[in-house]
Symmetry: C2
Subunit: 342 residues, 2 copies
Amino acid sequence: MPIDIVVDGMGSDKAPESEIRGAILACRHLDVRVHLVGPEDILRPALRQHLASHNLQNKHLPVFIVPASEWISMDDKAAQAVRAKRDSSMRVGLKMVREGRAAAFFTAGNTGAAMATAKMVLGMLAGVHRPALATVLPTTTGSPSLLLDVGANVDSDPDNLVQFAVMGSIYAQNVLKVRHPRVGLLSIGEEDSKGNTLTHDTLPLLRALPSINFIGNVEGRDLYNGHTDVSVCDGFVGNVALKTSEGLVKLFSVLLRDSLKSTITAQVGALFSRTAFNDFKKRLDYSEYGGAPLLGVRGPCIIGHGSSNEKAIMNGIRVAAEFAQAEVNASIEAALKPPATT
Amino acid sequence: MPIDIVVDGMGSDKAPESEIRGAILACRHLDVRVHLVGPEDILRPALRQHLASHNLQNKHLPVFIVPASEWISMDDKAAQAVRAKRDSSMRVGLKMVREGRAAAFFTAGNTGAAMATAKMVLGMLAGVHRPALATVLPTTTGSPSLLLDVGANVDSDPDNLVQFAVMGSIYAQNVLKVRHPRVGLLSIGEEDSKGNTLTHDTLPLLRALPSINFIGNVEGRDLYNGHTDVSVCDGFVGNVALKTSEGLVKLFSVLLRDSLKSTITAQVGALFSRTAFNDFKKRLDYSEYGGAPLLGVRGPCIIGHGSSNEKAIMNGIRVAAEFAQAEVNASIEAALKPPATT
């Protein structure tokens, strides 16, 4: 029984090409039906052309177009665009999830706008005070590590961080398939004494939580060494950590390319080791993990990178489907719902 | 006229070997006299042996041993060790700077202990409220970028960040030789509206400062792309950014090694591109920049990485000398000293 996933057709830097190719790829490899949202006059001819070029026009792939007259670009100011563009592809797509016509939403568009629209259209899960954006990072051990919040909130309080820990742990267990995920509090040293006011106030609350496997403070380097499965922090800190990582990956690529170019033997070597370099880039590539889940809103929502290619889009659709099928949100509500007053 | 630099002989992971080799290297290549501090019974025979193995025993290299009976290890709790070990190599070394017997101090030891000892022994520069640890990062453009604070303080207030901006700008100009350093406030978006309470409160203060070239908010990725010369943040955030980067560099090395091993052609390629790989690692290597200056204390103080090898130690000594010769601290005092009451 295929699962219905709604995809913002106008999100990525190469929209709608990446989205259309990704949707076709997903329908060929996964048990999904993809609803692409955006202006019909842009999406329909583009979809027809891609199907034709793959000789797929008679295959009846379950890719459907859902009309929306507007879309939010990367350069739009999130808060403003969300208010002004009432028929945006994001809003129309998220409404389909709210109305039960699709099980999950994926966009590779403007992250701020996607978070704001999801919060507005879907609302929050019962008991959740603030949503958190989580990102999946690669590690030296090969198992993924989850970092949240990476930018949905700033100036979080200890209760927010406790909820992030619970939501992250449930997502890691159910979608990333980590048994008993180790949850760490991102700080500046392992000892309890290391940290700031926020981490000092949060530590005892996390220690007292029976539902998670809390391992205490972790440091920035632990995000990539496999010592923790879920790392919890304020969205300002998480966003800086994530973007610093993106900047460093870019620096790596530039330096490695320069170094490979700089000597004749290296040039010969570069030819031979291109396979290795491509393999390396693939291992490092966040997009393999399909994007960042927005946790705490009333409907599975995955936000991919703007630079997503067709494969990243397909992975995003796959993860959105897994997010929905694992019933993560029901588990989060069960864990965080305030007890009914009797 | 050689400049006197005092070096903690017992700081690095491979102390005193790295320190002794680094001191010898420095004396051979730079116009410095190096005072190595630590237990005489450890340092003297080790120095003699290294000089002998280099056939340098008759060269009268200006390496001197300054006795100290104790040292602080990486595993020591900083605050405790600073109080308990009254004759530590760090304390004895820093006293030499305070007493004017050396122009600057370098250690590759316990960062927390070095900061606390420097603050205690040297005291603060007039007008400076809190010291800041700054780190020099490589960028895609090849020019270094300075990030501060990376862990001397947590829960900084806007006035602290303003002082970090002034100190970082003076250091970048005088030691890193950047003309009109561009100073950015590390945040989660370029627009003024992006950030947390601390950055929102700090922005107008930095804008109002005539003595620095303030360019507004910068993001994590800007630390490595050359868009900013000096980036200012709270020590918690800076420490997370720095350690996240260290973790990612480690991941990068592991993945690249695995990828190079994984195919036969890649193995052949690896042989050819070893030059390139070594070149790449060197470009990425923080130790080329010689360590992290501790700004705001009454005496030039550079803290190197625990894994410093002899070359990193030599670079640390070089930068410590440059820090002293550029009269950075006089400039910082001139900029931050409160006006005398009349």
